[in-house]
């Protein structure tokens, strides 16, 4: 469990990045900080591993303040994944993944063995082990970044817009991969993004932030979508437009769900159907029935 207790951060130039922020991040859940750029979400994340020192308040991990003790040792216990992967360009893939293990004093051979297993975990071919990061695609680099974050088997994984710089198809792929990993590994994940869809997809707890890291709303994705706290949240999550403003359309073949643009998003199933298949928005919506006249002629 990570707990922020009345944390503030004023940078030397006078900007108040975080003002009196308090929140509990439950263990083995994914908490997503979401907000527009400059709202202080990355500053919050970096206070967990003391990349940024709070000017007031305290951050505790399982009841122990992070401000006590050696920050370097603290960082080695916490996985960190950042935008543009942050890989060491002069280390091979395998050495990048093994970095934290080596820092912790694990022998080279053992560290490499573990690093190879991690390449499997994140879905990378072991043949890439001896390449340099510049020889990989953006998506592959990001997977190496995740493998490095997981290498020392930390309880906490901090992710700072990790999928922000890859193209949408790769991003969707990496997001699904992270959901799968989280199901297997059960880490306490803190994820920072400005993409509300990503926040709702990955977050167990979503924290919507405004300037100065002011909490506008905290809750599960369902709670926030069903009950936006105010107009700011409604506008931010786009509650009144696109695929979040859905209507029912009655057709002779049954009831369908259409978005605000009138595009059919999926079929509306009856409650009697198996709830596990009754996803509100199937990814591949069945095509709407052909209109009269265009059907097959006898």
């Amino acid at each position: 469990m990570i707990e922020f207790r009345s944390v503030s951060k004023r940078f030397p130039d006078g900007t108040l990045a975080v003002e009196d922020f308090s929140l509990v991040l439950p263990s083995r859940k994914t908490t997503v900080f979401v907000g527009s750029s400059g709202c202080g979400k990355t500053t919050l994340l970096r206070m967990i591993n003391r990349m940024v020192e709070p000017t007031a308040g305290d951050v505790e991990i399982d009841g122990e303040s992070v401000l006590v003790g050696d920050p370097v040792a603290l960082r080695r216990r916490i996985g960190y994944v950042m935008q543009n992967s942050g890989l060491m360009p002069h280390f091979s893939v395998i050495d990048n993944v093994a970095t934290v293990l080596r820092l912790n004093g694990t022998g080279r051979k053992q560290a490499h063995e573990r690093a190879r297993e991690l390449l499997d975990t994140v879905g990378l071919d072991r043949a890439l082990a001896d390449r340099y990061p510049s020889q990989l695609s953006g998506g592959q680099q990001q997977r190496v970044g995740v493998a490095r974050g997981l290498a020392a088997d930390p309880n906490i994984l901090l992710m700072d817009e990790p999928f922000g710089a890859v193209d949408p198809i790769v991003r969707a792929d990496l997001q699904q991969e992270l959901i799968r990993l989280q199901r297997d590994l059960d880490k306490t994940v803190v994820f920072v993004t400005h993409d509300i869809d990503e926040a709702f997809l990955l977050g167990d707890q979503v924290v919507i932030l405004d300037k100065g890291a002011r909490i506008v709303q905290v809750g599960s994705p369902s709670e926030i979508i069903e009950n936006p706290a105010d107009d700011f949240v409604s506008a931010f999550i786009g509650a009144e437009r696109g695929h979040r403003a859905l209507r029912i359309k009655q057709t002779p073949r049954g009831r369908f769900v259409v978005d605000s643009e009138g595009r059919t998003q999926g079929a509306l199933l009856d409650d009697a159907d198996d709830p596990s298949t009754a996803s509100p928005i199937p990814e591949h919506a069945p095509a709407p029935e052909p209109v009269e006249g265009s059907g097959p002629t006898p």
Binding site: M82, M88, H90, S134
Partner: protein, 227 residues
């Protein structure tokens, strides 16, 4: 050309001495420049003064330096140490700036990433900052090496023997091939050292090759797509 054939032993002996003097000065200059360059990079306030002062060293006329140094430091002007100290000063003048620029060239995101995964300050410097500054430092080192090897010949004017001897001796005795032999020997040594430094750089920094290969590939792809 007869003179050269008859005096190969002399030329070879002087070349080895010359190489030895230059090599010591280059190594000393490099070792001194690392901490100075680091300080200049780390502490913004002293950066200007350090870079300007060391740069000014380069403007001291070499002959004057070799005459003045002994009276300041207290050894004989004709000793090898005198020449080596002088050459070291010139190497430092070039290299301090290279080291500071090299450390500047390291992507701040990578530095931050290293800190985030748990590098302490010292370890980060030796395993992240310095290697990544390597290409820029190497470029400076190659300039310093070539200029040191060429500059060393001035030593003969204060009585330190090396390939410069062939210039003064050839001039006094009007043996033009001797002067040319000296020039050629200096150029060959400089080119060989430069080549060795380049090859050493490739061996120590293998990632720089693949990086340039990768950017070259990326540059070609869109052109093909356009065609």
């Amino acid at each position: 050309m007869n003179w050269v054939a008859d005096n190969l032993d002399l030329i070879l002996g002087l070349a080895l001495t010359h190489l030895g003097q230059s090599a010591i000065a280059i190594v000393c200059g490099f070792v001194l420049s690392l901490p100075l360059g680091w300080v200049a990079w780390r502490y913004r306030l002293v950066r200007g003064p350090i870079v300007v002062l060391t740069g000014l060293l380069y403007t001291i006329p070499s002959l004057a330096l070799l005459i003045l140094l002994p009276s300041v430091v207290g050894y004989s002007a004709r000793s090898q140490e005198n020449l080596i100290v002088g050459l070291t000063i010139y190497a430092v003048a070039i290299l301090v700036r290279s080291v500071a620029d090299g450390l500047d060239s390291v992507d701040p995101d990578i530095r931050q990433a290293a800190t985030a995964v748990g590098y302490g300050a010292a370890r980060r410097f030796w395993t992240v900052d310095l290697p990544l500054a390597g290409p820029v430092i190497l470029a400076g080192l190659r300039v310093a090496a070539v200029s040191t090897i060429s500059l060393a010949t001035v030593g003969i004017l204060v009585g330190v023997e090396n390939l410069g001897y062939l210039f003064t001796n050839g001039l006094q005795r009007r043996i033009i091939p001797e002067v040319f032999a000296g020039v050629l020997a200096v150029v060959v040594i400089a080119l060989v050292i430069d080549l060795l430094l380049m090859l050493a750089g490739r061996a120590i920094m293998p990632w720089t090759r693949t990086a340039s290969a990768a950017t070259a590939r990326r540059r070609i792809v869109p052109m093909r797509a356009a065609a």
